[in-house]
């Protein structure tokens, strides 16, 4: 309240006592002085040195906008180039991913070609009575292992055997309209005639359906077997071709009180390997 009154008093006092007191006589000396400076500079250029000095000294101030602009440009450039680099790196990474995928595809193709050429060689070398290539479409894994293979089903019959690059792997279970269902060679109750090259003994292998295992039927306990003995297909019966590795002896249970010994054979067939198979008739 007091302050407000104080201000009002001051304002009114100023309004009363301060008049437009500036007289021409007061400004005249300054004006004459300035006019003198003006004409002397105009005619004799006295201000040249002062002007140069001023321009030099005031340069830091007058160039502030330029400096700000430069800093702004540099910042924009820095962030834009940084951004550009990031984008470039991202694009390159995407390209690398694409190329890696292409490499994988090419590797797959190369493997397929090798596989195909091996199978073709096998077919040529063994001189099967009939052979035909098939392409694996889908695979089912243990315990119900099977392959679905597409091929020309008109030339396929149920007695054919299936080979891949690793050897004999299975036999045909069903001929479907456009594909063939293949079961592994060690499928339960599947019988494969075989022999021991070491002893020359012919045997019958029977699929157990348990983790790639065969059992040997009716093997007398007198037969000398060792763990790791290799067993090959004998070709007897005419279904399976002769001379293909079927498996190795894994376990022998020889009870002297029994007439026959129990032998477990581990199959060497790699059922789900590769993408191509060969159907053959020996």
């Amino acid at each position: 309240m007091y302050n407000k009154e104080l201000k009002q008093t001051q304002i009114s006092q100023t309004a009363i006592f301060t008049t437009g007191s500036m007289r021409a006589s007061k400004i005249l000396p300054s004006f004459i002085l300035v006019l003198t400076v003006f004409f002397s500079d105009y005619f004799f250029n006295y201000g040249k040195d002062i002007r140069l000095f001023f321009l030099k000294t005031s340069q830091p101030i007058t160039e502030i906008p330029v400096a700000i602009e430069n800093v702004y440009d540099r910042l924009v450039f820095f962030f834009s180039s940084q951004n550009q680099l990031f984008n470039e790196i991202n694009n390159l990474n995407k390209e690398i991913e694409k190329l890696n995928f292409e490499i994988l595809k090419m590797k797959g193709l190369e493997n397929e070609n090798i596989e195909l050429s091996e199978l073709m060689n096998l077919s040529k070398r063994e001189q099967f009575s009939f052979s035909m290539l098939g392409e694996i479409k889908s695979k089912s894994f243990f315990p119900n292992e099977s392959l679905n293979v597409s091929t020309d089903v008109t030339k396929i019959n149920n007695n054919m055997v299936v080979l891949n690059r690793n050897g004999m792997i299975g036999q045909i279970d069903q001929v479907l309209p456009n594909s063939v269902k293949v079961l592994p060679i060690y499928e339960k109750d599947n019988i494969v005639p075989a022999y021991f090259p070491r002893t020359g003994l012919n045997i019958i292998l029977k699929g157990t359906g348990k983790d790639k295992l065969f059992s040997i039927e009716n093997l007398s306990s007198g037969v000398n077997l060792k763990i790791g003995d290799e067993i090959f297909s004998s070709g007897l019966g005419g279904k399976f071709p002769k001379g293909y590795l079927i498996g190795k002896v894994k376990r022998i249970s020889n009870n002297p009180n029994l007439k026959f010994q129990t032998v477990e054979v581990q199959s060497t067939a790699v059922f789900d390997n590769g993408s191509k198979v060969l159907f053959i008739s020996p």
């Binding site: 001051q10 309004a15 300035v34 003006f38 500079d41 201000g47 101030i61 502030i64 906008p65």
Partner: protein, 168 residues
């Protein structure tokens, strides 16, 4: 009776405050001129001078007007005294009629300021004999801008005057 008036001293010398604001506006004008790169400009120094002559006619001397006029002449590479003469005449006119100007509404003050800015810019155009269409457009544009920013400058300088030159 007037003891309380004697206690009222400025917290910061008025004369220095006026000088500093005028110099600040002069350099702002120079920077703005370098930034915009046009023939004409918003005469911030003149507007600052108008305010102080109107608000504190007793305190504002002619020295600051002369000094800033010379600074502007030097920065614009003009003949020494060009701006000074305009500033002196403006100061004289404003001080002569300051209590009439004070009583005006802000809009009316803006119009007076626009008139002064227009005349100020016109003097330069005439002295350089540069009458291109762009320059005339600049003249109108900067006159309008000056009129529009006058209330802002007025408010800012009034705030500085109250804040720094009085003890409540």
């Amino acid at each position: 009776m007037t003891e309380f008036l004697d206690q009222k001293r400025p917290s910061f010398p008025v004369y220095i405050t006026i000088g500093l604001t005028i110099i600040f506006f002069a350099f702002s004008e120079i920077i703005l001129r370098n930034l915009v790169l046009s023939f004409l400009n918003i005469p911030l120094t003149l507007m600052c001078l108008i305010y102080w002559n109107m608000a504190l006619p007793k305190s504002v001397g002619l020295t600051w007007a002369i000094l800033c006029g010379f600074i502007l002449d030097l920065s614009q590479n003009l003949v020494l005294g060009t701006n000074v003469m305009i500033f002196l005449v403006s100061s004289y006119l404003i001080q002569r009629y300051f209590h009439r100007l004070r009583a005006l509404y802000r809009v009316q003050q803006s119009l007076i300021v626009a008139g002064m800015v227009f005349t100020y810019q016109l003097i330069f155009i005439i002295s350089f004999l540069n009458f291109s269409r762009e320059i005339l457009l600049e003249l109108i544009l900067f006159t309008v801008i000056s009129a529009l920013i006058w209330p802002v400058i007025f408010g800012l300088l009034r705030f500085i005057r109250i804040k720094f030159t009085y003890i409540n």
